[in-house]
């Protein structure tokens, strides 16, 4: 038994590497490795480590919902559509261009 209060000494790790690793694996715990009275590293079983890994992200990402570029003008999103009735866009542009009609 090399681990005490979930800590390991670096000297034990150096001298009894295989035995320490077996102990870590069997216990399934997490151990702080001390060197010169300072915590330097964390050691845990591979099984435990795998459990900590985040789930792989879903790679089937949804396609972007907002049409972009020319697609935006082909199919403008609802919030961009102007719903006012009776607008004559030609008159509007001609007004902007200074035609007095």
């Amino acid at each position: 038994m090399f681990a005490a209060l979930n800590t390991l000494k670096i000297s034990d790790l150096r001298k009894h590497t295989d035995a320490v690793l077996d102990e870590v694996e069997e216990s399934g715990g997490v151990f702080v490795v001390f060197s010169r009275s300072t915590p330097k590293a964390v050691l845990m079983s591979y099984k435990h480590f795998k459990q900590l890994e985040p789930e792989p992200e879903d790679i089937n990402l949804e396609p972007l919902k907002t049409p972009r570029g020319i697609d935006f003008f082909i199919n403008p999103p609802e919030e961009f559509l102007i719903k006012k009735r009776g607008v004559d866009v030609v008159k509007e542009i001609r007004r902007l261009r200074g035609y007095d009609e």
């Binding site: 935006f72 082909i74 199919n75 607008v87 004559d88 542009i93």
Partner: protein, 150 residues
């Protein structure tokens, strides 16, 4: 035979953004068609400016208005639309050709751009069509779709 380059007037873009406008669905169908057929669009910078200004006039929403600009830029990044800057080289073209057209300055910029770029001008403005016909190829989106047998 029409080449693969078009100039599109502000009335077409604006029409696409007005759900209830009489030509709205035709404008969008036209844009869909030019996308499918791989047409390249060349417009003076004046055109998106007019679209933004007019869009803002109706919505008073600067965020959405900026969103329109963003989509023009996105379209430009897709390399299917080019913006012609109104600067020195365009001014030379304008100087050389503006007398062809009896139009106000903004209309003349649109017409000279189409003339210089050798593109077909697409607009809903019948008066602009009347003035430009016989000088440059010009038609409505509806006429374009008819020519494309849609």
């Amino acid at each position: 035979m029409m080449n693969r380059n078009l100039s599109i007037d502000a009335s077409v873009f604006l029409s696409a953004l007005f759900q209830k406008e009489i030509n709205s669905s035709c404008s969008r169908k036209f844009l869909q068609k030019i996308k499918e057929l791989g047409f390249f669009v060349s417009i003076p910078l004046l055109t998106p400016m007019e679209v933004l200004q007019s869009y803002y006039r109706f919505t008073k929403n600067s965020k959405r208005s900026d969103g329109i600009l963003e989509q023009f830029v996105e379209w430009n990044m897709q390399k299917r639309i080019g913006f012609v800057s109104i600067e020195a080289s365009f001014f030379l073209q304008f100087t050389a050709h503006h007398r062809l057209f009896n139009l106000k300055t903004s209309d003349t910029i649109v017409a000279v751009n189409a003339y210089h770029q050798k593109t077909t001008l697409i607009t809903w403005d019948k008066k602009l069509i009347q003035e430009c016909k016989n000088k440059i190829p010009v038609m409505t989106p509806k006429q374009f779709l008819t020519q494309m047998h849609v």
